[in-house]
């Protein structure tokens, strides 16, 4: 029989002990893990999960997102939705489609959200529509205007803002009747601006038979418009449409005056002209610019006054633009829909809860909030049902700068199938 040397024996003992300890540790780890999973599942049950992806690179962008989170927080503090708390995840897509899609995937497959909110930029919202359609998750759009978003035929998407097809019609009608038909276009490469430009040109053609005098496609963040402005100046136009994101538009407006294009040539903005960086950066060059939007802070309704006051106090914004009002309206619509939805909110009911939320949003009719007109949805996955707001407000800047002022020129409700 082999003798075990004392030293060997001593070495063997701790090894055996550690083996037993490892077994025990494994068991404890498994139990702890199982406990954690169970508690996570039980924590997830009974909560409504919302994933929000937005452009939050600018100061206002951050505040739109913050406003949504604050409003959700207020709902939770008031007892939640039928006793269930909303757990919201806010993510920044920086207006980049790859980041937006990554955010949507993360929210859908990791966070297991019941509803996706987003995005601010059409170029981000467009690919997310495909993601939510494939994953069968309801999506509600806060700011994006490109008409193609609802034309994709997804049964899961709803749009709170006014579609570009309505904006284009209203802008073209006002321009053709009051300004003239010789229009030059500067169109930035982002999806919203491309959509606005395309719709405006199409409407000018169909309503007045007018072709563009000059069209320039520019980069999303173009900084030098002088060549275009010189060419536009020599083309003797009645108006210049600048369809671009806020900062780019502001630069173009300033450079249009620098090139010697006088105020008699009216500047037409795309819907992002509503964003406060436009008058803030463009200063006096913003005066006279007209555009269509979904909200004007000069709205005299009590609800609008209260809203303006709230945004001023809470976020220090002198005059909230329509992206603020749309973010607010979206949360109210979601609140109504969630209250009406028949939700189980268990770990196994995710799919049917998503369907219930989709159907509840489709059931929202004549929501009267801050928006320019009532917002209604229905179940058909077509633009007539999914473009909720079809009333555009025609607005003009009467003063530029930080303390800018606006006037409402008209408020127009378009037929549901307009521009399709």
């Amino acid at each position: 029989m082999k003798r075990i040397m004392p030293s060997q024996h001593k070495r063997a003992k701790p090894f055996q002990r550690s083996k037993q300890m490892k077994k025990g540790n494994k068991l404890i780890s498994v139990l702890v893990l199982a406990g954690m999973m169970l508690s996570a599942v039980s924590a997830m049950a009974g909560e409504i999960r919302i994933g929000i992806t937005m452009r939050m690179v600018s100061e206002n962008g951050q505040k739109y997102g913050q406003m949504m989170m604050d409003e959700i927080d207020l709902i939770n503090k008031g007892g939640g939705i039928n006793g269930n708390q909303i757990v919201a995840t806010l993510m920044n897509d920086e207006c980049k489609s790859d980041k937006g899609v990554a955010n949507a995937n993360k929210m859908i497959f990791q966070k297991k959200v019941h509803l996706v909110v987003g995005s601010s930029c059409s170029s981000v919202t467009l690919p997310i529509v495909d993601v939510t359609a494939k994953a069968e998750v309801p999506q509600i759009v806060p700011h994006s205007t490109n008409s193609k978003i609802t034309q994709k035929g997804s049964a899961w998407v709803f749009r709170v803002p006014v579609s570009g097809r309505f904006y284009g019609g209203v802008n073209a009608k006002y321009t053709g009747e009051n300004i003239g038909t010789r229009i030059a276009y500067i169109c930035a490469a982002d999806a919203a601006s491309q959509g606005d430009c395309e719709k405006m040109q199409g409407q000018m053609k169909s309503q007045f038979g007018a072709s563009p005098v000059y069209v320039a496609q520019v980069q999303e963040k173009e900084v030098d418009f002088r060549t275009h402005m010189q060419k536009i100046k020599t083309a003797n136009v009645d108006g210049v449409m600048i369809a671009a994101l806020a900062e780019t538009m502001a630069r173009a407006l300033v450079q249009s005056y620098e090139a010697g294009i006088g105020p008699e040539v009216r500047r037409i903005g795309s819907s992002s002209a509503s964003n406060s960086p436009v008058p803030a950066i463009a200063g006096d060059a913003a005066k006279g610019v007209f555009f269509t939007a979904a909200y004007s802070h000069s709205d005299k309704r009590p609800i609008a006054r209260l809203f303006n006051e709230m945004v001023r106090k809470r976020y220090g914004i002198h005059a909230p633009d329509h992206d603020f009002s749309q973010a607010y309206d979206l949360i109210r619509i979601v609140e109504i829909a969630l209250e009406n939805a028949d939700l189980e909110l268990t770990s196994s009911s995710l799919k049917q809860d998503r369907i219930a939320i989709r159907d509840a949003i489709a059931g929202v009719r004549n929501y009267q909030g801050l928006a320019s007109g009532p917002i209604s949805f229905c179940s058909d996955p077509a633009p007539v049902c999914r473009d909720g707001n079809r009333t555009a407000v025609l607005i003009a800047y009467t003063k530029g700068g930080e303390k800018y002022e606006l006037e409402v020129l008209a408020r127009v409700t378009m037929p549901m199938d307009f521009g399709l």
Binding site: H228, T234, G260, I281
Partner: protein, 300 residues
Amino acid sequence: MEFDFNSLFAFIIFGITIGVVYGMVALGISLIYSGLDIVHFAHGEIYMFGAFFGLVMAKDMSIPYPAALIGAMVLAGLMGMLIERVFYRRLTRSGGGYTVAGMGMIICGFGMSVALMNVAFLIWGADAKPFSINLGMPLQLGNISIPQSYIITAVISFLLMGMLHFFLKYTKLGLAVRAVAQNKDIAYLMGINVPVFISLIFGLACALAAAAGVLIGPMQSVQVEMGYLMLMKAFAAAVVGGFGSLPGALLGGILVGIFENLGAAYISPSHKDIYAFLLLILVLMIRPSGLFGIEAKVKA
């Protein structure tokens, strides 16, 4: 659209005004390359910081625009010297050009670019800031109106570059800078404090970039991301002119400015940024060392 000479003249003027700004940034890049044997990839961010320094001084501190321009140049110069002393010196001491340290320097430049952009983001946020200064009514030349800011940009740029030329060519300090650029070891043996002069070269290059930022601010507003495209155009200008050549940088800048404006006006306005690089490829095909570059120059 009909061809008219007034517009052609306007496009050339626009090209020159933006071109001299490219030239100033390119001059800084060339100066650093001549003196330190490195390509500085964070120069666009120095340009952006300079623009913000000028904006803060002119807008928040109500300092007159010319004083804000000088102030921004001084601040950016000091900032550049600090960056060189703290971050780059260890690497540049081990050599530049094609050495391992030279490669490290390129990567360090990229890192510095990202770091500076994030610092600026934390301080000023991502929003574009208007840099509006009232310089009076645009100058009318026939059918062309040229804003005063364009004229001032061109005049100040030429003035600064002239001063730099005078400094390098006709002063003792300038002679020492050129000696350091030519051969650091021999310059050291001649009694020149080489590290101090390297700092000076870096500071000068950064001051020029800041001046470009302050001059372009009123035309295009100021924002954190403004440096990237400017860096690309300035590189194109530096390569077209001949890397390391100071007059070449200026001429390269002007050529890039004119070429991209004429391309945008007469070929396609949608692809304005491509023309600078088309010119770059064209020049490299015909004269690989650039218009003023020295054929046999080897940096190592």
